[in-house]
Symmetry: C2
DNA sequence: AAGTTGTACGAACGATCGTACAATTAGTTT
DNA sequence: AAACTAATTGTACGATCGTTCGTACAACTT
């Protein structure tokens, strides 16, 4: 698939860009996308401030690129691994995968999107729109996965709402309080919700 | 109760301070406690920057005072109104009260503590400790209210975890997407969870 | 070999940040 | 009326913010 370009300059630039975005996503999950500063990013990576800036052209573009990079990581770690399964197994893999992704601290500040969503949810702009769009697609993914469980009892959208709520609170409690029980509570809640929704009627 | 001091200067100062903190809490629920700047606060309130600064002595103290002021508002709007009830009615009033407090946008950015918790959960410092302590006491309040429901089926801590998760997600969805259904979903989820926990065993 | 392209750099800009301190205004006490 | 006190102001500081610009150099094209 990859193009046949062998331009070492571009390749080097893309590698630098990837390094910037990986670090940016880590920082943003802790300090927020607004707390992420170009100067600090440059210092931590050992490159020049203008070098970082040149890759994006504005801070807003850096933030948008960071969201896209984090989205890719999220998809790789949570969505793709559940790709092989169907029905109830697929829904379970999505939810278990999310909890594992949060718990293993793929991003040091917990789930990247939980952090930045709370930061941007109330202000206008392209960054907020980008985050909202990703969150919407994740919610819809869980909803359709629930709807695809054969013989499901009750409203799949309601079930999806409830189980996603457990995931988010587990992430929040764990990061804020170091509460190691939070993930266990969420797993219990998810399992019981799925049991109720798949029991014989 | 009130002291007999009639010093107009002190009184005026306290009033200014209250105005600052009310506005600060509003701003922080949208832009975050770090996005809140002393200069902007002064401009919006029509007072001098040094006037705002003198009331607190440092930005961290301003942030801490803002958290305390928001906590007082939260208690007045959610905790106190549920004070008269006991048992299941008390738990219901707490949860309904929270949803109403979020939905009526007491703070323009939704629940103040949801916003600032996600902002500070991963960084050290006194502000984070203050937020964590308040969140802990709220979680414990719901937990004890659940434990005080007579004849409860199941673990009250697990029940408290699940219902608080519904509240938080309703707030998040509503603020991020303008999703008007989110509160209805949360109310449905809360009601069914309480029904299950209080059914005849 | 000469010319072009793309990345990264250093220096500087205007603006804003939090903070410091002396001067001023308004209200209280003697 | 004078002395005192507390709230507020104006001015100024160093640091950092995002951004702009001209330049250096390596890699590719002709």
């Amino acid at each position: 698939m990859g193009g046949v370009k062998v331009d070492g300059r571009v390749e080097r630039g893309e590698q630098t860009r990837r390094q910037i975005l990986r670090r940016a996503a880590e920082i943003a999950s802790v300090e927020g996308l607004e707390g992420l500063s170009i100067g600090r990013l440059a210092t931590e990576l050992g490159v020049s401030k203008s070098g970082v800036f040149a890759h994006f052209g504005s801070k807003e573009e850096l933030q948008l690129a960071t969201v896209r990079a984090a989205a890719k990581i999220f998809v790789d770690e949570v969505v793709t691994p559940a790709g092989g399964a169907t029905g109830l197994a697929r829904l379970e893999r999505l939810l278990d995968g999310w909890l594992a992704y949060s718990q293993r601290r793929t991003f040091p500040g917990g789930c990247f999107f939980y952090s930045v969503q709370a930061e941007f949810d109330a202000r206008p702009g392209r960054v907020r729109d980008s985050i909202a769009e990703f969150d919407r697609s994740w919610a819809e993914l869980v909803r359709t996965a629930a709807a695809d469980v054969p013989g499901l009892v009750g409203d799949p959208a309601q079930l999806a709402f409830e189980v996603v709520a457990y995931l988010d609170l587990a992430n929040a409690r764990s990061v804020l309080h170091g509460d190691t029980d939070a993930y266990a509570r969420a797993r219990t809640a998810v399992r019981r919700a799925l049991d109720r929704a798949t029991r014989q009627a």
